[in-house]
């Protein structure tokens, strides 16, 4: 009896919080998709937003493009973060926490500032072009590297590397060093040890890193807004437009719901391969 009470006391506050600040807003959002206008009454229900959205393939193409970009961002962030985490865990000994902190340090600066910094680097008179010109690699009149999908990708990968490194780092730290010793004792060369012992054991960390990067990137709108230009626009930009300038909240709500469903599907499919329960919580 006492246990039940304690359990009840423990789960009530978060449940109430989730109810008011997650579930109810979500239901309101779902209802908004069926409103005929942003500020009008809910009834009579209208499916105008659905017609607009599903009759125009451009929205799907953009969603597909944004998914690809998010996927590429997640994969590149992991590819770049993995060796760094590996080096930190296995080669830096007691200094690894300091080095990890240094890796994460840029993430303490405002997200907006880190994105804006890339505007300074990639601009036509930016640092990168200046460097290339002074090295004699390109002539004057350098191409503008900003305002493209590539600029969005570079910026996003940069922003997310520390977040990808954290769960991988945590997964590697948990590997028992005796496993490596055992592998060596049995005559496995380092490459075989890596592929047959280390790599499989870090997969939950990699999976967690993938989710850390992929899901927020899919809904991203700040970075494409600042460095994306015409070709680097993402699905999230259009959602933001619907709630802002366009004042079409029903369509914006519908677009958000479609994104939510898509993320749900991705998570489900991914979870089939790597159960999320085995993913370590990053420190």
């Amino acid at each position: 009896m006492e246990n039940k009470r304690r359990l009840f006391a423990l789960i009530t506050p978060p449940s109430v919080f989730l109810l008011f600040f997650f579930l109810i807003p979500l239901v309101i959002m779902a209802l908004y998709t069926m409103k005929s206008s942003t500020f009008g009454p809910l009834f009579p229900l209208s499916f105008e937003a659905f017609t607009t959205f599903f009759s125009n393939p451009a929205y799907f193409v953009l969603l597909l493009n944004s998914s690809q970009l998010a996927l590429l961002t997640a994969v590149l962030s992991i590819l770049l973060a993995y060796p760094v985490a590996y080096y930190l865990v296995f080669y830096t000994g007691s200094r690894r926490v300091i080095l990890l902190t240094m890796l994460i340090l840029p993430a303490w600066i405002s997200y907006l500032l880190r994105v804006l910094a890339w505007k300074v680097i990639l601009g036509s008179e930016g640092l990168l072009n200046q460097l290339l010109i002074s090295a004699g690699l390109i002539e004057n009149g350098a191409p503008i590297l900003l305002f493209s999908q590539a600029a969005v990708l570079i910026t996003l990968v940069y922003v997310w590397i520390p977040f990808a490194a954290l769960p991988i780092f945590a997964a590697m730290e948990r590997i028992d060093p005796r496993l490596h010793e055992a592998a060596a004792d049995l005559g496995a060369p380092p490459s075989v040890t890596f592929w047959r012992v280390t790599f499989p054991l870090t997969m939950p960390g990699v999976a967690s890193a993938f989710f850390f990067v992929f899901i927020p990137t899919l809904g991203e709108w700040v970075t494409p807004n600042l460095v994306g230009g015409v070709s680097g626009i993402m699905y999230g930009n259009l959602i933001q437009d619907q709630f802002g300038r366009a004042l079409n909240w029903p369509l914006g709500a519908l677009m958000s719901m479609v994104l939510l469903v898509l993320v749900g599907v991705f998570s489900y499919v991914f979870n089939r391969f790597i159960p999320i329960t085995e993913v370590p919580v990053s420190s």
């Binding site: 493009n65 230009g229 626009i233 366009a246």
Partner: protein, 352 residues
Amino acid sequence: MLNKIKNVALVLLATAMLAACGGGAAEPNTQLVVLEWSGYEEPSYWEPFALQHPDIEPEYSFFGEDAEAYSKAQSGFAFDVVHPCGSWWGLYVEAGLVMPLDTSRLSNFDQLFPELTQHGVFNGQQYFIPWDWAYESITVRTDLVDEVPDSWADLWDPQYAGKVAIFDSGESTFLTAAYALGYDPYNTTPEQQEEIKQHLIALKPNLLTYWVDYTEINQLLASGDVAVGANTWNDAWATLNDEGYEVEYVNPTEGRISYACGFGISAKSTNVDLAYDYINALIDAQSNANMANDFYYGAANMDSVPLLDPNLVAVFQYDDPAILAQSNFQHPLTQEQREMMTTIWNEVKAQQ
């Protein structure tokens, strides 16, 4: 234990409900809440009000774009005076957010350009009082292009490939494409709307980016990444010219787009007398000129023209009585028109 939690939950709920009901009506005639663009709170724009009511300090709530102000007003934010631009005025009237005004209570009203005040009239009654007006046209870095465009249609010229930035607005881009195609943007058939959409998609190879706020386009033009700033306001030309760049503010053959912004009084205002005094102070010839000189805009008050910076008067022809009639003045939009334009623009942007 459980009871305690229940109590805490009840208190929390009650607090939340109180907060939800808060922000209600202001005390009558003791304060004035102005829903205003940031930057317009400058006391020299309403000095006569300060002299008349030395004990009252207007309280400002700022917005960055019209959509934001409108949704704030729609969601029940209590304000007395609001400053939207002309194409939004109709929506405020349609939604019953503002009251019809008695212009005899504004001693400066007769000094305003009738061409501007007429846009604030709905159902035979004056709802909005114009204050600032400006153009939307093309600012060109003449040193970066071989030929300066002389029409809206020229924006599609392949010689400007990747050199153009256009205002990220469904309304402005729709108007631009309609004028370039020779249509009346306020009377389009569905076929013409489709043609306008395809025309805007065809503009994309020329576009480097969309610009959102004026500081952004001014920087893009200054850095030279953009040579042709489409749908830019007077300040783009004036700021770059002041900094010594070679710029021209085009007068397109189809006519510049122009617009006015102005003040309305909330239908729920409890400070109506103060609101009238405040608006009357804003449209005073000197106050109006102070604002216009700071932002390089036109002033709605005819008597402000002699007080404006003569260079700006010359460039923007503020002293030409026919100048307003020569440009394409932005009409108030209905909800349907606005939705149609923004939907088209979003579909254009989504197209990859």
